[in-house]
């Protein structure tokens, strides 16, 4: 079987973003940056997707939507939080309706900071996500995906503490 990471399909969802990161995500796929020429395809269907790009913080109403989209994606899957709002809540963190970053509801593998995140860094984040996707695929094959996820989580926790 050909490697899935050669042509990762991404699903983009705007949680509670200001649009800045959303148009930059699209700018990654259109001329000038054009990640599509390498086989990265933006899909609207969560069941086709390998990488989940979340922009914006999580609010009361969209948290179930994000969770549902994540659950619908087939394994292995990687979540990328694009922009500082998706990482931590950003400038809106203190408002009454923002719960925080995307990691409040789904496990995030790659954090891409920036306001708005630049296309270069978004592409960097996707490349990183592809690496993790391969690791997860190997783990899934050997039937130890849960183990991998747990170890991955622990590693991230240590990074945060450090």
């Amino acid at each position: 079987m050909a490697k899935m990471s050669k042509s990762p399909w991404v699903l983009h969802y705007d949680a509670a973003s200001c649009n800045g990161c959303d148009i930059e995500v699209l700018a990654c796929l259109t001329p000038v940056y054009d990640a599509e020429r390498f086989g990265v395809i933006n899909t609207g269907d969560p069941k086709h997707a390998d990488i989940f790009l979340i922009t914006g913080g999580i609010n009361e109403q969209c948290k179930d939507v994000v969770k549902q989209l994540y659950d619908q994606m087939p394994n292995p899957k990687v979540v990328v939080a694009v922009g500082i709002c998706a990482c931590s809540g950003g400038v809106f963190k203190e408002t009454y309706n923002i719960l925080g970053g995307a990691d409040q509801v789904v496990p995030v593998d790659v954090y891409v900071p920036g306001c708005a995140a630049r296309p270069e860094s978004i592409i960097d984040g996707i490349v990183k996500a592809i690496g993790i996707l391969d690791e997860k695929k190997a783990a899934l094959k050997e039937g130890r995906l849960d183990e991998y996820e747990a170890a991955h989580c622990k590693k991230k926790q240590q990074e945060v503490e450090a």
């Binding site: 609010n59 009361e60 109403q61 009454y96 309706n97 719960l99």
Partner: protein, 114 residues
């Protein structure tokens, strides 16, 4: 009305004034609420436009009082009135479309209320 004019109304005179403005062919620009200090209620500003002129009606409403919707006069008013109800707790009666507090599905109840 002249550009920038703010006319003070009461809940009783609001509908009559709104009707007059509508009959002159004006459109509704926006409705905005502002919470008054120490829980004294809300100040509601109705803005109307005629080409590039904009004028306002202003209403002060104590918390427990209700105001009648102007959505029967200006169709689109229900949008602003539902927003006002959800964020400020302004009680609006007889809206053409009443979302009953589900316009914004937010965790905090009437977050702007003071």
């Amino acid at each position: 009305m002249t550009d920038g004019e703010i006319k003070v109304v009461t809940p009783d005179t609001l509908l009559g004034e709104a009707m007059k403005i509508h009959d002159q062919g004006w459109r509704l620009v926006q409705i905005c609420a502002r919470a008054l200090k120490d829980g004294a209620g809300n100040e509601i500003t109705y803005s109307f436009g005629d080409d590039l002129i904009m004028a306002h009606l202003r209403l002060t409403l104590p918390c427990e009082e209700h105001v009648t919707s102007i959505s029967h006069i200006f169709q689109t008013a229900y949008f602003y009135e539902n927003e006002m109800h959800d964020l400020f707790g302004v009680q609006v009666d007889m809206m053409t479309v009443d979302f009953k507090g589900n316009f914004y599905k937010i965790g905090a109840e009437t977050p702007f209320k003071k």
